[in-house]
């Protein structure tokens, strides 16, 4: 790990201003992903701004009947909140499908959204990787790509976003609240938080330098059967090969987002018009632009079959 200076932030605006002005500054909250990457010198911050003391750890009801989840709410606490369990079950289910109990006790809501890919080539500093070292090339294309993306990828990068929580947030139409270095706040629809890689896979989000996530807001509950199915190589504590977050209404309409297949939680609203026709039609719309590798072509069928299982369970 490279040496770094350390300070505790005193307010969100102060943290944001410092992160923008101090060279090599990074926020640290749970730190479960950042420290892992710092040990490998994939992340090399010169200054850490600890935001844990900012009091952004509350879950509050909003005036329009939704929930505002503080950026520092731990994954365990969000999954266990009875309002989330009752009205946003897909979010509880996604959270408890991710990581381990120890990690969920520390990992935060904002940190979960901003975690980096687990592409094995990103994690190996000896391999070229356009995300870790822009312009160096992508080792995953033509390499071992079984875990990697099939849609939304580019010639420069086929990494996936590893979060389960974010897939549920996407299907719930969450909004990300931030503060910017000047102190101004803004709200970013979760669909616009993560960027597709294109030619710049090292640019992963639409956040400005120094911009700090302060909360994630969930709109008022939409009801329906809320399910999260995660298919992985072991029964627990593994990243998704494919995951499906779905909200299915009694009349058969609904929403679907996929995890494990793309550089961001993957949702195509137009595909949801085919919900009543079943998994095949919906998946065809979701993955119409899929460009899988020989290694991960199976994910296209797996997504369809997982969605079929979800829809069958939703019908009861």
């Amino acid at each position: 790990m490279r040496p770094f200076t350390y300070e505790r932030a005193t307010s969100p605006a102060d943290a944001s201003a410092k992160a923008a002005s101090i060279p090599g500054a990074r926020f640290i909250a749970g730190g479960t992903n950042l420290l892992d990457l710092m040990k490998l010198q994939i992340e090399t911050p010169a200054h850490l701004i600890d935001v844990n003391g900012l009091g952004l750890d509350k879950i509050e009801e909003t005036p329009d009947g939704g929930l505002r989840v503080g950026a520092l709410v731990r994954n365990t606490d969000l999954a266990a909140d009875m309002r989330v369990r009752r009205h946003y079950a897909v979010l509880s289910r996604a959270l408890v499908a991710g990581a381990s109990g120890q990690l969920r006790n520390v990992a935060t809501t904002a940190g979960n959204l901003l975690q980096r890919t687990r592409c094995p080539y990103f994690y190996d500093p000896n391999q070229p990787c356009n995300k870790r070292q822009p312009g160096s090339g992508c080792s995953a294309i033509g390499g071992v790509s079984r875990q990697l993306g099939v849609v939304g990828t580019s010639e420069a990068c086929i990494a996936t976003h590893p979060s389960d929580m974010a897939v549920a947030m996407r299907v719930l139409d969450a909004t990300v609240e931030t503060v910017r270095p000047g102190g101004a706040t803004r709200a970013i629809p979760i669909a616009e938080l993560h960027r597709l890689p294109g030619d710049t896979p090292h640019v992963e989000t639409s956040l400005e330098r120094g911009e700090l996530i302060t909360a994630v807001t969930l709109p008022k509950p939409v009801g329906g059967a809320q399910l999260y199915h995660k298919v992985r190589d072991r029964a627990s504590y593994a990243f998704a090969l494919v995951s499906v977050a779905a909200i299915v209404q009694p009349d058969g309409t609904g929403r679907v987002a996929l995890g494990g297949v793309a550089p961001k939680p993957w949702r195509v609203e137009a595909a949801e018009a085919h919900m009543k026709q079943g998994a095949k039609a919906v998946t065809a719309g979701l993955l119409a632009d899929a460009r899988p590798t020989d290694d991960n072509r199976f994910k296209v069928r797996l997504a369809e079959r997982t969605l079929a299982a979800v829809l069958a369970e939703a019908r009861g």
């Binding site: 730190g31 010169a46 109990g101 990690l103 330098r209």
Partner: protein
Amino acid sequence: MRNHGNADVSRRGLLLGAAASAALTATPRHGQAMPADADVPSAPHPGPVPIMNPVMNRVSLTVNGAAQTLEMDTRTTLLDALREHLRLTGTKKGCDHGQCGACTVIVDGRRINSCLTLAVMHEGGSVTTVEGLGTPAKLHPMQAAFVKHDGYQCGYCTPGQICSAVAVLDEIKAGIPSHVTASLTDAPQATNAEMRERMSGNVCRCGAYSNILEAMTEVAGQKMADQQNGRDPA
């Protein structure tokens, strides 16, 4: 505070020196064209930042009931603070990347991977390690149950398993759901499936899992019996 001998200091100095020289000889970035960072405001690498000397920081925390104040390199993980500075070597370093669970300790009532958190982030915090759960003369019920049910072979993962197991039963009691909880709105029970799922962050290469489960089942049963009898479980 503990007295840190000269050997300790010189060993630490040696490690710091090694880390600094490794950083200085790190391979420079490839010379390939890089997109201008000006176009990409949220780029994670805003440009080369000079490698600085180690930075020291003071942190005060409570470990197994005793107040401790440590002066440490900011890079020191909680795990290394426990093992290398406080000589509490019960907590083990397995993978050092949060994948094996050998470093599990209980901080402010919650089990965490001590390898994936910085000591300096725990100012004012309260840490319980396996040494703080019980003593050889008076074992914690979970420690006694691991002995009785042979919940280990080589023993390396055991301190993390025990800390995790104690916290898992508390999490079930607190009603925190897991991936295998059938109904999100019902209180989870200490079933075999629940405990297996919740212990998945603790890897045992000897494969003592079934015996660990027997130990946990016994303690979970004791806890329930104690609650029914109005006694406060340990």
